[in-house]
Symmetry: C2
Subunit: 333 residues, 2 copies
């Protein structure tokens, strides 16, 4: 078995070999050069630019791994701005002693996800730190996309009367990571919802026209995203608990551990807010799109106190959704 050594991070012959054999062989494309920065042709217009660090544990989980996650995360952040994913960079911090074969699996998974999302690797970097200065591998990706919607969606654009949809059942990623840590002796068939959502957003925009808000419900879950939108837009958001899709396995795990699915991270689900008149067209398009089979209309934007998110519960009550606080679940992404 081969392992990553400090020499692989020193910038010399071993670094070159590591990059050639693991990363270049997976990521090679015309945009990726050996120079200090990639040169990319852009059309005049607006680009979207985003970055995310990934420190998920465990590195491999049902439905994905840190590599797939790191590409999906950046693709989805671009998609949230209706930006067609164009170029991605990746920066690896690797712990000395990490298995080369695992690194290869992670890189291959990144390459496969990038191909599926139509995004090209344009730049990369590799650092190696000593044992105990990292937990296996951390990855930071950054992405560039071309913005397609004339007035881009934003957290401050929700308007009274808008409909709220979610593109699928929530909480799978968080629940899958929890189960994969094996801390609670829970057995489950849950897989993470981790997926690249550009094609879904493209289908949505084509069928339903411009959207007001588009946010992927990652760290902090759907609840966090909705609290942020309600705050930024100065509106109240109302949710119908009954209509929020949660799969049985996630529901079971949440019941067992006393968790609220609304706060569990998703890595392949978005909240969509758009005018009520186009909600049905949006729902139909989402359900027909890959990764959108379980999409649902789950609520609406209404007048009321700025920043409030109210849940109409199954038993006919109302409760206020608090913005998350404290430690929810460390290293979920």
């Amino acid at each position: 078995m081969e392992f990553v050594t400090m020499a692989h991070g020193a910038g010399g012959a071993q670094t070159k070999r590591l990059i050639d054999e693991i990363f270049l062989s997976a990521f090679r494309n015309p945009a990726l050069t050996a120079d200090d920065a990639a040169l990319l042709a852009v059309k005049k217009g607006r680009i979207a630019f985003t970055t995310d660090g990934f420190v998920v544990t465990p590195l491999f989980f049902p439905g994905g791994n840190i590599g797939k996650l790191s590409v999906c995360g950046t693709v989805n952040d671009l998609a949230c701005m209706t930006a067609r994913p164009l170029f991605i960079s990746c920066s690896f911090i690797i712990e000395e002693g990490f298995e080369m074969e695992k690194l290869r699996m992670i890189a291959d998974s990144m390459a496969q996800t990038a191909r599926a999302a139509g995004i090209a690797f344009a730049a990369g970097d590799t650092k190696v730190v000593a044992r105990g200065q990292c937990d296996g591998v951390y990855i930071t990706t950054s992405g560039i996309g071309s913005v397609e919607q004339h007035t881009a969606p934003g957290g401050a654009r929700a308007r009274e009367g808008d409909a709220l949809l979610v593109t699928g059942d929530i909480g799978r990623h968080g629940a899958a990571i929890l189960a994969a840590r094996g801390l609670y002796g829970v057995q489950t068939e849950l897989e993470s919802d981790c997926a690249p959502l550009w094609s879904l957003v493209e289908d949505l925009l084509k069928a339903a026209g411009p959207v007001h808000c588009l946010r992927d419900a990652t760290r902090g879950g759907l609840a966090t995203v909705l609290c942020e939108i309600a705050e930024q837009s100065g509106v109240t958001i109302e949710l119908d608990e009954e209509s929020i899709p949660v799969c049985d396995a996630a529901k079971g795990l949440c019941g067992l551990l006393g968790l609220e699915p609304l706060y569990l991270a998703c890595e392949g689900r978005m909240a969509v807010i758009l005018p009520q008149t186009r909600a049905q067209a949006a729902l139909t398009a989402l359900r027909q799109s890959r990764y959108g089979a379980n999409a649902a209309v789950i609520g609406r934007v209404r007048s009321g106190r700025a920043g409030n998110v109210i849940v109409n519960t199954k038993i006919g009550g109302k409760r206020l959704l608090a913005p998350p606080s404290g430690e929810l679940l460390p290293r979920i992404c």
Copy 2:
């Protein structure tokens, strides 16, 4: 004293406070939004895109800290493609228990360096990992710039007859980090050469016209950069040892520890290759520019075996410079 806790990385109220108080207060500008990606206007043309991870130890060293370094690294990678720095993203991985005040110093230093380089923060991310899963803080920056030179420079563009210049004395960063680690009981007044070089490149291009190669001599030092260029361009590069600027303090440290300054990292020095006829104009412009006072013509590109870098030694001999191999100095950047 205040410390970073796992809750600061959970995506809730504490994360928001950390971002608002430390990062937003330092990085605020119109390009930086609370949405998933920044929206940036670009002119039609070519952009440069680059990323680098920073894991330097110690985090604070004479002449800089990991924050300043992380901005200079990305600015200089863009400048190497003659790209005017426009936008930068930063992703932090922070160890639980890290001092908040140190984080503030790092962020302030990043903001100051970015202002000096004319680059705007457009996106960011923060993750917190438990004690022992990181060594204080790691930072990954990515950058976007607009390419100014019609045919961009590249490692494969060195031509027989070209002149080779270096923009200042070499090895200061590597020597300063070595001394700062205090491993050898060495006392020195050396400061890192860490600096954002876009203005220097702009002055150079204005005075001397298009360049063939422009590379910053970071990890692996000037030797590594020259071996790469000689290899990529299929040429021999010849250096005159006597003309290579090395300050006395760096020379002294290298003598003491048996190191070769040519392999020591710089973070504010570039190798410049351009036609011999314009070497004098380039030298004059560099010496008048900030960060270029010690620039020198140090060699030439000639016919000979592809990939060879030959040093004409002070005592009249010749030696072949080997591409670096093995562990030079871990976590130098």
